[in-house]
Structure formats: structure tokens, C-alpha cells
Amino acid sequence: MFRKFIGIALILFSSALLAQETPDALVKSVTSEVIDVIKQDKAIQAGDQKRILQLVEEKILKHFDFSHMTALAMGREWKNALTTEFRTLLVRSYSNALSQYKNQTIDFKPLKMQPNDTDVIVRSEVKQPGAKPIGIDYEMSKAADGWKVYDVMVAGVSLVTNYRETFTQEVRTNGVDGLIKTLREKNKQLEGTKKS
């Protein structure tokens, strides 16, 4: 009986392992999937806001951990309302960068990872003629439902911690609620410009 139980546990355990994609394979497959869509979608290439957001929502966002990102940018005064606004800001502003894609090639570097690591950096490089390749690194941690990105570094600059100083200043002068308000206004303004 006991042995049977162990056997079942082992099978469950190993199938869970198999289902768990390695973080670099995950980033690679999502990247190539997204690029394939962009290459074929004339509307996205022309900068169609709605289509880009739809693509990002569908393919990318489930692999991001926005609470973690907000905590990283904010420190301890982290609130759920803040996560919502920060998420909107990051998604809106960086999604547009996708429409800038013009046949650059993306190379992935071999992942350095120990079998029981729960925090890794997947490194990639965007190559374009006549310019130094730009590094894009994804910092990922392992969650119950797979690997999640919690920071993106472009050319060595964290898109998340780059907000830290601004957030600190804002919280110091207007408090966390002041920061949430500022973010909300910024997001509204972004939405406004999109429609015109």
C-alpha cells in the first residue's frame, strides 16, 4: 500500500517536472511566437494600439509577475491598487515598442542554471546592422504555475528599478496614495492620446 502510494507520488512528481518548461525555453517560444505574429500583422507594424495590446494580453502577460515587479520598484509600501496602475503603465508604454520591430535578429545565450534554482536570468541579444547588439535580459523566478518574469533589463538597465527613484520622491512628498493618483492620471493621459 505504502509502496503504491510512493509510486503514484513519484509519477505525479515527475509529470509535474516535465510540464515545467525551463525558463529559457519559455522565453524563446513566447518571443518567436510573438515575432511571427508581428511579422504577419500589418496593423501592428503600423502601430495599431488595440491590436498590439491584444497580442500582449494574450501571449505575454500571463508570464509576468506584476506584484513582484511593483514590490521591486516600490519597496515595502506596496499596495494592490499600486500594482494595478503600475501594470497598466508598463504594459501600455512598452507594448508600443513592439511596433518598432524591424527584422532584427534575437539571439539567446546559454542559460546558466542549477536544477533546483528558483531565480534565473535569461539573457538575449537583439542584433541590428551597424549598431552594437542590445542586451535584453529577463529575470525570472519560479512560481507554482511556472516561471514568471519579474524584471526586464534593456541594455543593462532595469525597466522596473528605473522607477524606484521617482516613486521614492513621489511617496516622500505625496504618500503612496499620491503616487497611485499620479500613475492613474498618467495612464488616463496615455489612453487619451491613443484615441486621437
Binding site: 551597424g130 542586451g135 521617482t166
Partner: protein, 268 residues
């Protein structure tokens, strides 16, 4: 790079700005001259909006992409020699000789540098300058400083810029007209490459000034350590184990980042 009288006038304007700027204080240790810097930033921004950006857009509209790439390659090729020198000064012999190899190949096979053949055969372009070399030698960055026309720097990188300019072959061309045209085309070509990025900046930044500053400072740190800056959070973590910040549920190595400035000081 610019006409001398303009230069003299802008130095005068700078002194005035500096006096005005010193009146305001900043509580960011990396940016004690924030008041002054913000004024120069606004000046550069205006200059960009009304002069450089429209020209860059015009250039992008009339010049097909392959030609723009050729022009960017041409200036990049000239820079490779100085990049190589800086790599040697930083003790990176292999990278340095790769840069010289790039210059030789691109100047000949790549027809005066218009084609970046070297990258295609696997000699990748590097990004080095004298400010980075000084950083590698242990010179402290000093306060953040926004220069008129040139934009974000630190005190150290401003010194580096002077040496970079003196070392640049294009600033030693005898004919003033040719020299100024080269500088002009170079500036426009560089600006045109950033036309897409600035939209993202507009959208992403709550405060463009501090976004650009923090981006610049992070970027320089990353460049000086060639993409592997020391992760202070990890080094400092052992001192933090008692602080139990795991409530947010994130990696131990990152928890140092949750502390505010004063707390970081007490931990150190």
C-alpha cells in the same frame, strides 16, 4: 564641435544657469545639482523639439534605410579605433585588437566603413569611451551633470567626453566647413536612430528628467562593468538575514532592494 562664438555664449548662459540652479537643493545623493540640471535638460529638450528632432525626422523621410545604415556605419567605423584604444587602456587586449581588426576590415572590404562586414563575420562592435576607462581605473563618477547640447553625463564622464572629442579624428579635419558638416550629419544620424525610442520614453516616464537620469546612471554602471555589474544586494544580504522581509515573497537576493536609503545606510 560647435562654432566658437556659440560656444562662448553658451558658456555665459551656463554660468547664469548655474547660479540660478544652486539656489535649489536636491535630496538625491547622486544628483546634488538637480535644480541646475533640470534647467539644462529643459534647454536641451527645447532645442531638440525645435531643431534636432525635426531635422532627424526629415532625414529619416528622405533617406532610405540602407543609406542611413551606411552613414551610421561610417561614423561607427571611425569610432572603432578609439574604442580599441580604450579597451587596451582597460586591459582588455582581445577586445581592443578585435576593434582594430574591425576598423581594418570595414575600412577596406567594407568600403570606407559604409558596410559593417566585420559584424557579419563575427567581430562584434563594442561600446567604450574614456569615461568608462576612468571608471574602470577607479575614478568615482561624481555628481550627475546635464551638459548643454551633449545631454546626460556625470562629472567624470564630462571629463571623458573632452578626451573623446580631442581623440576623435573628425574633430581634427582642417576645413571648418567639412568638420562642421561631419559633426552635423553625425548628430542627425545618431538622433534619427533614437526616433522610435523617445516615444517609449514619453509614455513610460512619470518624470522624464529623472527617468533619463536613472537610466543613464544604471546604463553607465553596466557599461563600466561590461554587462556584469556587482550585485550589491547579494553582497549585503548576509547582513540582512534577521530582517525578515520575506512577507512580499520574493527572492532573498533581492530583498535588499526593499529597504529605503536610510535603512541601507544602517545595514552597511
Amino acid at each position: 564641435m560647435f562654432d566658437r562664438t556659440i560656444f562662448r555664449k553658451s558658456i555665459g548662459a551656463l554660468c547664469l544657469l548655474l547660479l540660478a540652479g544652486c539656489a535649489s537643493m536636491s535630496n538625491n545623493p547622486a544628483d546634488p545639482w538637480e535644480g541646475f540640471n533640470r534647467k539644462v535638460y529643459a534647454f536641451n529638450d527645447t532645442l531638440d523639439t525645435y531643431a534636432l528632432k525635426p531635422v532627424a525626422e526629415g532625414y529619416q523621410n528622405v533617406t532610405p534605410l540602407p543609406a542611413r545604415t551606411n552613414i551610421a556605419n561610417f561614423f561607427g567605423n571611425i569610432e572603432d579605433v578609439w574604442i580599441g584604444v580604450n579597451n587596451l587602456l582597460q586591459g582588455k587586449g582581445r577586445d581592443g585588437f578585435e576593434d582594430f581588426g574591425r576598423f581594418v576590415i570595414n575600412s577596406t572590404v567594407g568600403i570606407l566603413g559604409f558596410f559593417d562586414i566585420a559584424s557579419e563575420i563575427g567581430l562584434e562592435k563594442h561600446e567604450e569611451d574614456f569615461g568608462q576607462t576612468l571608471g574602470k581605473w577607479g575614478v568615482d563618477s561624481g555628481p550627475y551633470l546635464v551638459l548643454p547640447f551633449f545631454g546626460p553625463r556625470t562629472v567624470r564622464d564630462s571629463g571623458g567626453l573632452v578626451i573623446d572629442t580631442l581623440a576623435s579624428p573628425t574633430s581634427h579635419v582642417d576645413s571648418v566647413a567639412v568638420r562642421n558638416s561631419l559633426a552635423g550629419v553625425h548628430a542627425v544620424s545618431d538622433r534619427a536612430q533614437l526616433l522610435g525610442a523617445e516615444k517609449t520614453l514619453d509614455e513610460a516616464a512619470l518624470d522624464k528628467y529623472s527617468y533619463v537620469r536613472d537610466f543613464y546612471l544604471q546604463r553607465r554602471k553596466n557599461l563600466i562593468f561590461d554587462g556584469r555589474p556587482p550585485r550589491d544586494e547579494e553582497d549585503d544580504y548576509s547582513a540582512l538575514e534577521g530582517l525578515k522581509l520575506s512577507a512580499v515573497g520574493y527572492p532573498a537576493s533581492r530583498q535588499f532592494l526593499l529597504l529605503n536609503d536610510e535603512e541601507k545606510q544602517t545595514v552597511k
